[in-house]
């Protein structure tokens, strides 16, 4: 039984403000050297899915640049490989609002494939999951669709069309979208498996009825109407949901924790990303580094604490960086002081500049800015 992968790259762009001004949420940098989509795509690749389509809407150049020929994910293949699916603009399609519409523009891709099952994933949920296990569970259940979900009670700001499932004896007995989660309930992780032919039928029927949201318009309606059965695959390892800037910031920093690292980065299922051939990171005498994760290519002379440092960052002597996310190519000059800051790519922070945000709402310095 083979699966076809579909990744949604910019359904939830709006929640990330400045950071998604010129990129999809999928290409949002995460965890020191990755883009969010790397986790989703690596999970798919590590589950032996060799044909993957990435549905995009706009600002997808950064995504295309990131993937290149997809060889860093081993997806430069004859049979299958990676397909970027921009909006299929014809007379009847427009730039879409929801997943169903998005899938409609990928209809040809779905129809041309011969694989039995389709695996659909959002690119904002970070975890390390084996989809082959999910498929096994799906086939065994005989349900129309399998929803991957976990217990996550912290989430009060449930916005990204997340499903909340109530189970009784392992059967889904109630389902809500964007609802408050009560104890014992499961929150959807934006990962679904269903039969390819079923999905094609749903897309064709839904779009002709003017429906556009997969969760609300299809899953919930059809479930309530009793037309479909839902299987819930319970995932019990670490899940990081990047719903908005606050969670994105918190989740980035959580990767410094050993336990979180251990469950997201596994030797048996590595997370792939674009190879940039940076030299290793150099730590000068006199630097101070405490509880940080750092990618290659940096030069560290200053003081950093509890921060995530991406590739190619320079932190000059006397600079202090705390609780911050420093993106690729950032230069932090002498004597600058940063607390609770996210610097986007290629930012320069001038000498003795003081930047401070709040832990709940970090200060964001947009791409390429000089402050």
């Amino acid at each position: 039984m083979e699966m076809l992968g579909i990744i949604f790259s910019n359904i939830y762009d709006a929640e990330m403000g400045e950071l998604t001004k010129n990129r999809t949420v999928a290409s949002l940098p995460f965890g020191g050297r990755y883009r969010q989509v790397d986790f989703t795509l690596s999970n798919i690749v590590n589950s032996n899915v060799t044909k993957v389509g990435i549905i995009t809407k706009y600002y997808y150049q950064s995504l295309m640049d990131h993937f290149g020929d997809a060889s860093d994910w081993d997806l430069n293949r004859k049979n299958g490989g990676l397909y970027i699916l921009p909006p299929f603009a014809s007379g009847v399609t427009t730039v879409y609002k929801g997943k169903l519409e998005a899938l409609n523009s990928a209809l040809m891709f779905l129809k041309c494939s011969k694989r039995d099952y389709v695996l659909m994933c959002d690119s904002t949920v970070i975890c390390n999951i084996d989809f082959e296990e999910v498929l096994k569970s799906h086939i065994k259940s005989g349900a129309t669709i399998t929803v991957v979900a976990n217990k996550d009670y912290e989430s009060k700001d449930n916005v990204n069309n997340e499903l909340v499932l109530k189970l009784y004896k392992n059967k889904v007995v109630d389902m809500a979208v964007n609802s408050i989660v009560n104890e014992g309930e499961y929150t959807g992780m934006g990962m679904y498996i269903m039969k390819r032919t079923d999905l094609i039928e749903i897309i064709e029927r839904s779009v002709s009825h003017g429906l556009c949201h997969f969760e609300k318009d299809f899953l919930q309606r059809q479930y309530i109407a009793g037309n479909i059965t839902i299987n819930c695959y319970k995932f019990d390892d670490v899940v990081l949901r990047n719903r908005n800037i606050t969670t994105y910031f918190k989740n980035n920093l959580s990767l410094i924790d050993k336990k979180v690292q251990k469950s997201i980065f596994k030797k048996s299922a590595p997370i792939y990303t674009k190879v940039r051939d940076e030299a290793p990171t150099f730590y000068e005498s006199g630097c101070s580094v405490k509880d940080c994760i750092l990618a290659d290519g940096c030069i560290i002379k200053g003081e950093i604490e509890n921060s995530v440092i991406f590739r190619d960052v320079v932190i000059e002597e006397g600079a202090v960086v705390k609780n911050s996310i420093i993106n690729q190519g950032t230069v932090i000059k002498k004597g600058a002081n940063l607390v609770n800051v996210i610097t986007d790519k290629d930012v320069t922070v001038n000498e003795n500049t003081v930047l401070a945000g709040a832990a709940q709402l970090p200060l964001i310095i947009g791409k390429g800015n000089i402050v």
């Binding site: 410094i256 997370i271 150099f282 509880d291």
Partner: protein
Amino acid sequence: MNYRSKDCIAMLLAGGQGSRLMVLTEENAKPAVAFGGKYRIIDFPLANCVNSGIDTVGILTQYQPFELNNYIGNGQPWGLNRNFGGAFVLPPYQRSKKTEWYKGTANAIYQNISFVDKYNPENVLILSGDHIYKMDYKKMIRYHKEKDADCTIAVLDVPLSEASRFGIMNTDKKNKIVEFEEKPKVPKSTNASMGVYVFKWQVLRDYLINDEDDPESSNDFGKNIIPKMLGDGKSMYAYNFDGYWKDVGTIESLWEANMDLLDKDGELKIKDSDFRIYARNYAMNSSTITKNAKVENSYITEGCTIEGQVKNSIISTGCTVGKGAVINKSVIMPGAVIKDGANIQYAIIGERTVVGKNAVIGENLDMKQNIRITVVGNDREVLDDTVVPTGEIK
């Protein structure tokens, strides 16, 4: 019919066992030995080729080819996965008439004449797989063409005191080579050969065939081909190179070259993004430096977890340094695990080796003149509380 041809292809001599690297090359050819945190020695000549616009590289090897073959793969990490050209690992193979190992550097090329002929190149670049340097071969090839030379040899100006360790090229005012001396006791000049040659392929081809017919010959470039061509009055020029270059054929020089990254970074310019050194990537997570760690004047590659003290050292991809461990003036090769409280001084720790708790390897020679490097080979286990004495190689 005119076949498609290349201007220049490279032949990389990677055959040596590198026996002077001892435990580090037990199951690994010298060019595949780890260097500088995330590289292998062979990445340097390969990246030099790619950065010089050379997209076809034959890699000649006969010792433990598996590691090297596995490392090179289809050449994709270097952009050497080409339809016409690319990277090829060329071990000796069985033939209908005469089958033999590569007898010498020249014989290795001789046995692959048909490989080179396939690309019908005007010039062939001969390289060796045991030097650390960044060099734009394009400039050298341009010089070779300007001089209309049959052979151009890259030379480095070395201190007179060291000249007798190298092959020395004595040249006239126009840089034409008039004499070649292999490791002369009294050197006449300080132009040391770097083991980088450009030959007109048709000229070299004839010399290789003639050399093979000579039963007295040891089929070596330095001993046979170069002196023979000089004797025949061929047009041979020296090309002066003035960047960082180091032979890493011994434990000491391998360690020194690693330390040079820290002390003399300006020379190799490893971080120069316009001339990157490419390497196979192993999809490792970012490195974690915890609050108990202290890192000074060191390179740390991705995939590491550092909880101890690291000073003046190179920590390669995927290593772990435990709490209270101390590492000074050492090279920790990929995947090594240094457990809590271990003390490593002036040492090379091989790939995937585990150093037990409170083990002591080598001693601090910071103020000493005479430096003896302690080496633990690949895939070893140093048990808890063990002492590995200074200079031991195990």
